[in-house]
């Protein structure tokens, strides 16, 4: 298991939207490789593909509001050895383009990159229609697909650059709102390699996206109660890092999964698939419990849906009792 020491003060973190990291990553990927191209879906500024568009107007194709066509056009570009990034709100990108992603992109194993913006309920006021809560499930079940949910803006940039450098379809989930920065430039990032951001012996929190931060805050709080909590940043949902998950479960004997996504089929389910087969331990799951989102400010929604560090800490207390 790779251990990464925290270099930031989690009580007072800098907050930056992960979409900024995506935008910078896409721009840098375009600077590094002229085969990188991007498609526009009428929300180019919102999903932060505008940095790329402005730098490389000839390699940016505006395609309007037509998600199915986006995926097909990207497939055609990939067949010509381009590296196309399709960026859209995750709920529409993954949902409306699903059969195209399945049959054209994944079955053909084409080098198409999917940037799924506005992941999770933290999108806020726009409400349920625009809050992507199912993409991890419906993307990770596709053969040849890689699924990454980075924890902060710096990691999102790294993931975007890594996506351009690997071959094959990949879905990167990122968000709209400002979230704590918990990694730095030196934090190692490799697709498929989870890492431990806090060591512990009583329980392991396995989280992805901005929920890693909530896990770190919970762990610090639990320390006061004498509970030693490990926190794993499980940024790659597929291919999942079985070795790290099994090691975490063996070392602690109890697991809490944490994600801003439906618990059905999401990151937690992926972890359970590993644990149930290789290292069954008591597990509690934090996520959206089979319901749609609602309008509201992000902070209120995260509380209302039980996605805060307090909820994680409570789940840890529950799971420890079951050991």
């Amino acid at each position: 298991m790779r251990i990464v020491n925290l270099t930031v003060d989690i009580d007072n973190p800098e907050r930056i939207p992960t979409r900024f990291g995506y935008g910078e990553g896409l721009l840098e990927a375009g600077q590094k490789n002229e085969e990188v191209v991007a498609l526009g879906a009428d929300i180019t500024g919102s999903v932060k593909a505008d940095l790329f568009r402005d730098a490389f107007p000839d390699r940016f194709f505006s395609l309007g509001i037509a998600e199915q066509n986006h995926i097909g056009v990207a497939a055609g570009l990939a067949l010509m050895n381009k590296i196309p990034f399709v960026t859209n709100y995750g709920v529409f990108l993954a949902g409306r383009g699903w059969d195209e992603i399945r049959t054209t992109v994944c079955y053909s194993n084409l080098n198409v990159k999917l940037g799924g913006a506005h992941g999770g309920i933290s999108v806020g006021p726009d409400g349920a229609t625009h809050q992507a809560l199912e993409e991890i499930s419906i993307m990770r079940c596709l053969p040849n697909m890689t699924v990454v949910v980075p924890s902060d803006s710096i990691e999102t940039k790294k993931a975007t650059l890594a996506a351009a450098e690997m071959f094959g379809p990949i879905y990167i989930r990122y968000g709209r709102e400002k979230v704590p920065v918990i990694t730095d430039e030196s934090t190692p990032f490799k697709i498929g390699e989870a890492y431990c951001m806090r060591e512990g012996t009583d329980v392991a929190i396995i989280a992805c996206g901005a929920m890693v931060y909530e896990g770190l805050v919970a762990a610090k709080e639990l320390e006061k109660e004498g509970i030693s909590t490990m926190v794993i940043n499980n940024h790659t949902i597929k291919p999942i890092d079985k070795a790290t998950i099994i090691e975490a479960a063996k070392l602690t004997g109890a697991v809490v999964t944490v994600e801003e996504h439906q618990v059905m089929g999401g990151m937690g389910s992926a972890v359970l698939e590993v644990l149930a087969q290789d290292c069954p331990v008591p597990v509690e799951m934090i996520g959206v419990m089979d319901r749609f989102g609602e309008s509201g400010d992000p902070e209120t929604l995260m509380k209302a849906f039980g996605l805060c560090s307090e909820n994680v800490a409570e789940a840890v207390r529950r799971v420890i009792k079951r050991k």
Binding site: Q68, N69, G72, V73, A75, G76, L79, T103
Partner: protein, 276 residues
């Protein structure tokens, strides 16, 4: 490209391919004869006289690209690819069998000469648009072709793709609608009318050419016109007969996705011999 085939040679080729298609489907025990037979003349002209391709090097960078959007008629394409030497003729007998190079719907990783996997309708034109955009970006003279069915254009994605091809004025793109007038449930006009198709594509900023999709000379001329047309993509609307060449399959919706039995195969082959 090999030498251009004349009208008579093209007709002979197409008849040969028709026989192969029927034999393949009989061996497989399933598959789609109707659309394979309605589109085979178009594909014969395309592969013999139009498409820049090299069977000895299927991945040749400068080849023209053909995207088969109506994936279910792949037996028609398989027989042509085999004839051009992309793979051995014996493979045709393995259509739809476990472990076969020739899947029931096209898989690019199984079959040499296929540009992309397809089978879920309505997706090929989008792919062709992406290829054409990349070809333009690269500054190459590669042309992109895409074959669709008429039932297939009921898919909304076709119109998203048509809009984008018109928007980007992709004159390096030529699509063909095999307008055989039938789909599984019956006549296209009854199931879901798509007409006036020419007006629709013209409204989407396409150059549209209507032809008899079984007249090899008209087909060849249409492809030539398309390659010379500047500033718009070209849509060839090919008026065809589903099941063309086999009397009892012609214009019969029941022959969309059913393989002939031995008796039917023999009767069909006899008809295709007699036409010589």
């Amino acid at each position: 490209m090999a030498h251009q085939l004349n009208e008579n040679e093209l007709k002979q080729k197409a008849r040969h391919y028709r026989r192969d298609i029927l034999k393949m489907l009989y061996e497989a025990g399933s598959g789609h004869p109707g659309g394979s037979l309605s589109s085979i003349d178009i594909l014969t002209v395309l592969y013999s006289n139009v498409l820049r391709h090299n069977p000895e090097n299927p991945c040749w960078e400068d080849r023209d690209r053909f995207i088969l959007s109506k994936g279910h008629i792949c037996p028609a394409l398989y027989t042509i690819l085999s004839d051009f030497g992309y793979f051995a003729r014996e493979e045709l007998g393995q259509l739809r069998q476990y472990g076969s190079m020739l899947q029931g719907h096209p898989c690019m990783h199984h079959t040499p000469g296929l540009e992309v996997s397809s089978g879920s309708l309505g997706q090929g034109l989008s792919i062709a648009v992406g290829v054409a955009l990349a070809a333009r970006l690269n500054g190459t003279d590669i042309r992109t072709y895409c074959l669709m069915g008429d039932g297939e254009v009921q898919e909304g994605q076709v119109w998203e793709a048509a809009m984008s091809a018109g928007h980007y004025k992709l004159d390096n793109l030529c699509a063909i609608v095999d307008k055989n007038g039938l789909q599984i449930d019956g006549n296209v006009e009854d199931v879901m009318n798509i007409d006036p198709l020419t007006d629709k594509f013209e409204a989407f900023n396409w150059n549209v050419i209507e032809i008899d999709g079984h007249d090899v000379v008209e087909i060849g001329n249409a492809f030539l016109q398309a390659s010379q047309f500047s500033g718009k993509p070209t849509m060839i609307i090919a008026d065809t007969v589903k099941g063309k060449g086999v009397s009892f399959m012609e214009n019969a919706p029941g022959w969309h996705g059913v393989a002939p039995n031995k008796e039917q195969l023999d009767a069909a082959l006899a008809e295709l011999e007699e036409e010589k």
